[in-house]
Structures are given as C-alpha cells and as structure tokens.
Symmetry: C2
C-alpha cells in the first residue's frame, strides 16, 4: 500500500470552500482505500489530507481523472501552499476499503 499525509494551507477564509471541493472529488477513485479530509483544530486555514492507495500508480493515475482535474483547477486559487508531506507504507488497520468504481 501507498500512503500520504499532507498539510495544506488555504487562502484566508477559504477553507470550507476548499474542503467542499475536495470532498466532492474524492469518491470512486480506483485503487483508493482511504481518503480523509480534516480541518486542523488550532490553525484556521489548515487542512490535513490522509490517503491510502493500493499502489502509488493508482494515486498518480487519480490525478488524471476528469473529476479530479476539474477539482484541481477550481481548487488552485484557494490554496496558499503545502506545508508538510509525508509518504508512508500503510500496513493495515481499520477503514481500508476499496472505492466503488
């Protein structure tokens, strides 16, 4: 499995708009086992995204899906930057479910 943990900073006041966009886009991505969008509890413009994919290739290919590309285009002006990013090898646990195609 292939995992990502990332922190994104939104343009001031645009967090809800950006998270709504992300949540619309992340359904039915082939090979996606988990994709969770969360607000930071202390920083008002910070978002955490945690992802698990069957393979890195599935992740990379998701970026070419029409609905994901459309979301990226809409999201770009709302993003102030990416603060941290960690790549992981998920081993297991609870909540790893293949996305419906």
């Amino acid at each position: 499995m292939y995992g990502l943990i990332g922190k994104m900073m939104t343009v001031d006041g645009k967090r809800s708009e950006l998270t709504a966009l992300l949540l619309e886009a992340v359904t039915r991505m082939p090979g996606c086992l988990s994709y969770i969008v969360a607000e930071d509890t202390t920083e008002p413009n910070a978002i955490w995204i945690t992802e698990v994919w069957d393979t890195q290739e599935s992740h990379d290919q998701s970026l070419t899906l029409p609905e994901v590309r459309a979301a990226i285009t809409k999201a770009r002006p709302l993003i102030a930057g990416f603060e941290k990013g960690v790549t992981t090898t998920p081993l297991g646990g609870h909540g790893l479910v293949p996305a419906e195609r």
Copy 2:
C-alpha cells in the same frame, strides 16, 4: 468527528514488532471510524498512526478497553517516543466506517 495524526518512534529494530501489536489491538473499538498504522518510508524506526473517531469520548474510552490496555503494556518497552501529534476535525471522505462491535 475527532481525528489524530501521530508519529511514533520505536526502539531500534522493533518497528515490526510494535506495528503487529497495534494491528492486533485496533479491531472492534466502539466509535472508531478509521485507524491506520503505517511505516514511514524514509525513517526506519518511525510509525505513523492516523485515527478518526465519532467523538473524542470514544477515543478516550478506547484506552480503557482490556485488549487495548494489554497492547499498551506490551508496546511500552518498544516505544522510544512520540515525535508529533496533531488533532483534527475530520469532515468526510472515503474509508470512514464504524467498527464492528
């Protein structure tokens, strides 16, 4: 929802032992929607744990479950420290599933 993203450092060479313990303990925790155990890809003694719970209370109560307490006791000598911890408010996404009781 209540979320945690944490990085744990294991005693040198004990990562596999610790992740196996964690993975055994995290099934059927009431209120747990996601609990994923992952290895860091660059640091050989680092583990990432990402969690989503329906409420903070469910998380806190999980620490009193007999199987979780037993795992903590076994895990303690394998843990070198906790490097980072972030509390989040998960909004949604894919892979949020109530644990079987």
